[in-house]
Symmetry: D2
Subunit: 386 residues, 4 copies
């Protein structure tokens, strides 16, 4: 197979990130299967036609179902709103298309399980867009752990801090409405932390959480597009129905313990996606705002020069780095998507499931719901009980 024909559903923020990654892949990974940007799909014809031209897609359509019967489409890339993921994914799987689906897989654990079942029954390849895994510095953390260089893992602590809701005048955007968004900081931000915990440390065993909505009424927005929004002066207000912040404690199956925090009220943190892992032989610290760096501590360093090393994960020794620029030259957020598509392309060529796939999406959803249940019932919840 030389090319991978893509049909993509969704053309907003994530559609742009995906398009850019497909475009960059053959230039920087020329020995990989080349993705062909065949058809982009969106409900609004004006919007999707402009996106097709700007992003470089050959065709566009307003009906994703037309993609299913085309022989020249190998992969359906779903980055439409979360509430339509299931319908598109199940139909695509049934049509024999490989799938790349943005996180969250679905709005409920049951839906995500249905999607996994459909994908497995159809025998297609399925991948989920936990793109942060593909940050070279995080790949380095993974390698250190897998090689046993951090020893037995004892602690995972992670925090995803944003501040865009600090302002009480910020309007009641769709992300603040439970019926559309499912949850607030929890589903949006903790989902990423949970996936990294699964990736780096292993399965969770039990959780207990808490959440808070600091500002319960907000002005109604003028529009609901994009990530932000504006509101008129003296606008009417409506209730915020999702969490502003969600924290939880956890125990892993392997005996490690963890703490997780997601908030949109941490003034000064535009998007601090950070974790620390402590093992019996070393530790790592990561912060996505400095995504090219991993701080690494190793207990067997000489006694007088022990300390966290600031490793720039841009050396030839680091994953993906030889594809990009010379050592010491930063890459950015978007490169994580390119790396994810390299995995997708490789998995299809090698006839294996890509990682992370829908199983990882289900597992993440399971923890998210366990935490929600623990908040509602104010008790520890076993992951296996869901």
């Amino acid at each position: 197979m030389d090319e991978l024909n893509i049909g993509m559903v969704g053309y907003k923020f994530m559609g742009k990130a995906h398009s850019n990654a497909y475009r960059a892949l053959p230039m920087f990974f020329p020995d990989r299967v080349k993705p062909t940007m065949k058809v982009i799909c969106g409900r609004n014809e004006e919007g999707v036609s402009v996106a097709a031209k700007d992003f470089g897609w050959k065709e566009y359509t307003t009906d994703w179902k037309t993609l299913l019967s085309r022989d020249d489409i190998d992969v359906i890339d779903i980055n439409a709103p979360s509430n339509v993921h299931k319908e598109i994914a199940v139909a695509s799987a049934n049509a024999g298309k490989h799938l790349y689906c943005e996180k969250p897989l679905a709005l409920t654990l049951q839906d995500s399980r249905d999607m996994l079942a459909a994908a497995e029954q159809a025998g297609i390849k399925h991948m989920i867009g936990f793109n942060y895994r593909f940050t070279p510095a995080i790949m380095l953390a993974k390698k250190l752990i897998e090689d046993g260089r951090l020893g037995d893992i004892r602690h995972f602590r992670a925090w995803f801090l944003q501040d865009w809701l600090t302002d009480p005048h910020f309007p009641l955007a769709w992300r603040l409405q439970k019926e559309i968004a499912g949850s607030g900081a929890h589903g949006d931000l903790n989902a990423h932390l949970i996936d990294l915990a699964h990736f780096l440390v292993g399965d969770l065993k039990e959780v207990i959480g808490m959440s808070e909505t600091f500002i319960t009424e907000r002005p109604l927005p003028d529009d609901t597009g994009g990530l932000s929004g504006t509101s008129k002066k003296n606008a009417a207000t409506g209730p915020v129905t999702v969490d502003d912040a969600a924290l939880f404690l956890a125990r892993f199956e392997n005996g490690a313990i963890g703490s997780f925090e997601a908030t949109r009220f941490a003034a000064g943190h535009r998007s601090t996606n950070s974790f620390e892992i402590n093992g019996s032989k070393g530790s790592v610290i990561f912060d996505f705002e400095r995504m090219n760096e991993l701080q690494v501590y190793l207990t067997d360093d000489q006694a007088d020069v022990q300390g966290f090393r600031r490793v720039m994960a841009t050396d030839p020794a680091h994953a993906y780095s030889d594809a990009w620029w010379p050592a010491g030259h930063p890459i950015g957020y978007e490169h994580t998507f390119t790396h994810a598509f390299v995995e997708l392309a490789d998995a299809i060529r090698e006839d294996r499931q890509p990682v992370p796939n829908f199983k990882d999406g289900v597992k993440c959803q399971q923890v998210l719901e366990a935490v929600e249940l623990s908040i509602e019932e104010r008790r520890w919840v076993q992951i296996s009980s869901l």
Copy 2:
């Protein structure tokens, strides 16, 4: 009053820290009441006599009770082991002596309440050694919050990370035995975080915690002195009966939410005593390893230059700083004790209770026990229920 005559019970690590602070006070705060280092007390005559000479005390004794009847003793400073705090404090209060007691006030909430009651009944001044409050950078955080410059507080997250137990060959020191130490990382490290939470944010309302002992058997030590210890090869082992790590989530009375973590298994962290506070108008971040610095973010900075400021709290504008060295010159751990004694001296001269005092010690103990109960019963515990 020109001088404050001190009788000190305890002469090990904390005795040295206190002695050094008493010594430095008149040199750097010459307009304050001068502490006179009258008598140092310890059970081991050889040890205490050497300490008296090295630290600069005029006399020593092996019987603390002799201090109570002396007219030339104004303050009893208790930094003997925690399990004797209560007896000494109650007797000293009854004898009309002012008290400075190291944390924890006592090993149980009930004992600490008894101590507070004795102190109040005697009408003496009582202070507890939560010395971290007196770090100039933390005083700056307090000032910013009190002046409303951080707005309404939403988040408090704190972590006290150490790594001295990472090595499984580290022996079963007294700090790892529940009957002597009371608890492990929880009582030792979370106590400081809880006091800072009280100081900076306010009273806690409810908590839920978890704890873990990662290494449950350790070699018996050759000796039990000091903070560390050694063990022979093939030494017999004994059970670790305290927690290696303790985490909890919390809700404050004022609506803020918090997360706390204490561990002795965070490889690479010798003593990372750190917190972050997020308010509606700004944030602060502190790490005791860089104790001269406070990171400060203010939401009303101009749009293009918003970011955390690294403030060196050594300018004349910062608490205590004009007593020490020119701006930009670091002070260290020991200075926090000197500042604490300035507060003690001022309070006695001004005939008011020093802050923090035994009430703060009781409140801290109350939270510690609430967390322990929440761990034992795996449920949220209201602070007011204890």
Copy 3:
């Protein structure tokens, strides 16, 4: 004008960086003139044909002269080796083509002046590839200075530290041979610092420098391609004829003073391209390894919260940032090229010279040669004397 037809000469490292930037431009700056990747040119047919396919060019050629007579080429992008810049640029200008030329403009000041003269006589637009100017954090520094928010500039200190020559076994690559590379760290790295000094502070008045070659003999390489290279064991050696490090002091026309350092022997620095500027009202610090950040200090901050702010230049208030990802999401090295091409496209559409242009290239070359003269003659050299 809707499209800008590009003919590019060069297809290695810089050719890839430029191609990637051309491809990204219409996706992220859809309202700008769209560059069309018409023809890529290189001497090696096999190499250039692969590059054409991987990078996405419509055609390729092995003879750059064929580009000059084509009506469907608007701009010649020169990123071939420096020693052929002049010939291609002058011929292209004479043919009426706009020019984008990588730095250094030429190997000598005289050649660069000839190129500028040819470009001015032909009346074409000419731009030089000082891409670092287009880092959003550096654009912020520029804005702060232009708005007077740093006051009068007193100090500029800059250092570009690399470490790829620290290993004595690193072979005698072409970059270490004077006849090919012109100079070593000086022309390669100081050139960037000098341009940033011109951009941010202003013209230099006089300089005095020093340079050093720490390792004077190196093993002959197996090949001379790419940035690095390898050598066989017991390989014959040859003399290093360029500087390993070059430092100089400088005085600016406006009274500021500066220090510059370039080295390839700073172990641990893969590519630390950094500067600090101190003015009467504030300071900024930049490091390209953390290219999304600018540290900013303002003297009129309140007395108790003065300190360097870590500004993530990814907010909507920062140059180019709304074209990319949400606030707090890093961009990388390659984005600086996209921004440079935005300037090129805008300048052509607006019928003005882009900035930086060949004048800036000449000025940079003038300072580089003045420093070289100052090293040779061990004396201060006036820039205006060259």
Copy 4:
């Protein structure tokens, strides 16, 4: 010898720093010879009598000459103004007293040589107050270099940045008057950097410098005491006769190259005393504002975890650290003086010259004057020519 009887001349800023260090020494280094604070000397009786009481000296005098004939004085500590160092030092040496003299040794190279000659002729011990050497993190840098763990040293770059003159209203204090202070930032700040260069890298061979006075007229002060000062509105002005900033390039005898910068106009830097050293096998970076830390890079770290380590020099493996607090607990500026006095006491007991001594003071003065000459004559100056 059990005690070392000190007579100290000077009682202001440095007198306080020294007194504090003498008092701390027996508490933290109980096995060392104990300094006895015998007599403090100053011209102003009121001032020196208060200092004697506050700092803890047994006696005071207004005539330093009375110290010379007393048998109960072993060491004369000179921290009076620099212009009287020579007279006191020579007379004290002739009287057979050991000497501890603050930097600079004298205002001229000739005077410093006279002082060294007198000390050598008298056969006394002589030490100079380059206290920064005794920072544990700098001692670690020294150890790494001496043990060959950084390999051959190639680069030394150092900068001492302050900002107290940024404000044009700051008055014409004595430090800005050449007849009193000798020079400005150069003698005050570069002196420290030069000594660290000597200590860590070795002797300098040649230098070339530049200096600048940015603000040439300042308001006359109300008083000239202390480090700062104030001036009345509309005060008359006078000329600043010293440098505000001084930079120089240097070549070391061992082939390393160096750059030095001292300024009082670096807004945001209260007192950034910093250096970086690059060797063939590693690098170190130090900043006194974070004096407990040394950043260390070692080239033989594994390929995927190479990076600067942030070493807290507070472990038992670090110099002096076991005398103070547990690992991870910061010490401050003042501790460097205590360590210096430990060296003085040890040298006297062991009957050897302390390090650094007057020879180091002379060497520093020699470089300072060579730089001044290079600035005046705008040419490279050989150190050995002075």
